[in-house]
């Protein structure tokens, strides 16, 4: 398997607050990798550093073999990195369809005419409820539907690497499961996925590998089976009841 994304020794600051303290991880092409950790561990900061919203003070970030430090998010979307941000961040006043079309904004005029209509149809196939409500305001959708919209919008960019920041936060269990199934389906279609989740159990169920972050560093890594079996992970993130399952 070839390396798609590599972070090595990445340090990221918010002004003077040192948040990522030498974080290192990698994602292979075609993998689902889970990034776990408690509140404030630096998971979101890691994703924001990868997608170009934050610039690391030092360390290397490379994508498909080239360094991407200092590239703008706009440029990285064109390169194949798309983030579904924490809290969905859809364009509430715009229609569902416009949200999706804007997802393909970075793809150039030719693609807008030739490929985008087909991609839109595929997103509607993946999330039929979005097709039903395509003319409604994005903001009028339920939480789960907004998450689908945020994912659909990201897919319209045809990403090679999809960054998902807590896609199941605040969703009913059934909807959360549906989102997780969609992630698996996307990977089957060839999209590589870096998934941030607080719900370690759900994330490790679908991921190939995982990393555990604590206060800005990766403290543990392994395959999903290794992490599920690991004592520290079980105590800190899986809870006691996991033993009974």
């Amino acid at each position: 398997m070839s390396l798609l994304l590599t972070l090595s020794g990445v340090n990221t600051f918010y002004d003077r607050l040192h948040v990522l303290k030498g974080a290192s991880l990698h994602v292979n092409e075609g993998e689902i990798v889970a990034l776990l950790g408690a509140n404030g561990a630096g998971k979101t900061t890691t994703l924001r550093t990868v997608c170009g919203l934050l610039r690391p003070a030092s360390g290397q970030v490379s994508f498909a073999g080239q360094s991407i430090v200092g590239r703008s998010p706009e440029a990285l979307v064109r390169l194949g990195i798309t983030q579904v941000p924490e809290g969905r961040q859809i364009f509430g006043p715009l229609s569902v369809q416009d949200n999706l079309l804007l997802g393909a904004y970075g793809r150039g005029r030719r693609a807008q005419r030739t490929e985008v209509p087909g991609d839109l149809a595929r997103v509607f196939e993946l999330f039929p409820v979005l097709a039903e409500r395509r003319h409604e305001r994005g903001g009028s959708l339920s939480g789960g539907q907004q998450q689908m919209l945020a994912m659909g919008r990201a897919l319209m960019a045809r990403p090679r690497l999809l960054l998902l920041d807590e896609p199941c936060l605040g969703l009913a269990p059934l909807v959360a499961r549906q989102i997780m199934e969609t992630i698996v389906a996307l990977r089957a279609q060839g999209t590589t996925i870096l998934l941030v989740e607080q719900n370690a159990r759900a994330a490790l169920r679908i991921a190939d590998r995982g990393y555990v972050m604590e206060t800005g560093k990766v403290v543990l890594e392994g395959t999903s089976e290794e992490l599920v079996r690991n004592k520290d992970v079980r105590r800190a993130y899986l809870g006691k009841d996991y033993d009974e399952v």
């Binding site: 997608c51 983030q83 941000p85 961040q89 364009f91 416009d98 804007l102 793809r107 319209m156």
Partner: protein, 296 residues
């Protein structure tokens, strides 16, 4: 006051108000894209009028060409101004950028004074001096041009926001700049586009109103203030509100002049503020409630 006199003030009010409406819309476009109140907005109007004067009256270009050239040049000036004076301050508080626009207005006004002098320049109406008589009131044909072109510009802006992907991308920037970047929209480019659009329609206002009011280097302050009042009255950030607000300011100040006892007519410019205060007192969020995200 007779009915025909009332009608006369109303027609004049709608005409002048149309120009205010375009200025108000100009304020709204820049405000939505950047959060800036652009105090140089009135200067864009003045430059539009003066350039149109030069092209049409001095160089004798065909009217349509002169109009288009004035609009495009002012839009380009706005793009340059944004690039040199606003963008470098992108990481600074919005207040510093607002204050920069005050400086810009002084510079633009000074330049206009150097180039065109202190005299007011008169510009011929687009299609002769003819007037139509309606119910005892005279309707100059130029008034129809002002109203018609304003309506066209407002519709065009509306279609741009509703129907084009660029227009939607501009809205997306105003709604959530970070999410816009994550779908590949360059926010600086959209800000630039909104300055161009905003300045272009303000220049259009300056050009079409020039035959009615003369073009002079120092008219920008008053025009800017009236347009600003329109934008606030409509609910700052609401494009349609801004257009209605602008027309309302024009109509009420002209009716006010007509209805005021003789001797008070000189207070015309104060009416805009009076209306503004009244609206802010009765309906602080503006006539149409605040919807920052809509273009028009």
């Amino acid at each position: 006051m007779t009915a025909s006199a009332l009608l006369q003030f109303l027609l004049t009010g709608i005409t002048v108000g149309s120009a205010y409406a375009l200025v108000a819309l100009g304020f709204t476009l820049i405000y939505n894209a950047t959060g800036i109140i652009n105090f140089a907005q009135g200067e864009f109007v003045v430059l539009g009028g003066l350039l149109f004067f030069t092209f049409a009256e001095v160089l004798h270009w065909p009217l349509a060409v002169a109009l288009a050239a004035a609009v495009i040049i002012v839009a380009l000036i706005a793009v340059i101004v944004e690039r040199l004076a606003i963008r470098p301050l992108m990481d600074h508080p919005v207040l510093s950028r607002i204050i920069i626009t005050i400086g810009l207005s002084v510079i633009l006004r000074g330049s206009a004074k150097l180039i065109w002098g202190v005299d007011a320049h008169s510009v011929r109406p687009f299609s002769g001096d003819a007037s139509l008589m309606i119910g005892g009131a005279a309707l100059q044909v130029q008034y129809l041009w002002v109203m018609g072109l304003t309506a066209l510009a407002v519709i065009a802006v509306r279609l741009f926001f509703d129907k084009t992907i660029t227009g939607k991308a501009m809205q997306a920037c105003a709604i959530n700049a970070e999410a816009a970047r994550l779908v590949g929209i360059s926010v600086p480019r959209m800000v630039q586009a909104s300055f161009a659009l905003s300045a272009g329609i303000s220049a259009l206002a300056g050009a079409v109103i020039a035959p009615v009011t003369f073009a002079s280097y120092d008219a920008g302050i008053v025009l800017g203030v009236k347009g600003f009042c329109g934008a606030i009255i409509g609910g700052l950030g609401n494009g349609l509100g801004a257009v209605l607000g602008g027309v309302l300011v024009g109509v009420l100040e002209n009716l006010g002049v007509g209805l005021a006892p003789t001797g008070f007519a000189g207070l015309q410019d104060a009416f805009a503020f009076l209306i503004l205060l009244l609206v802010l007192f009765l309906r602080p969020q503006g006539l149409l409630s605040r919807q920052r995200t809509e273009g028009v």
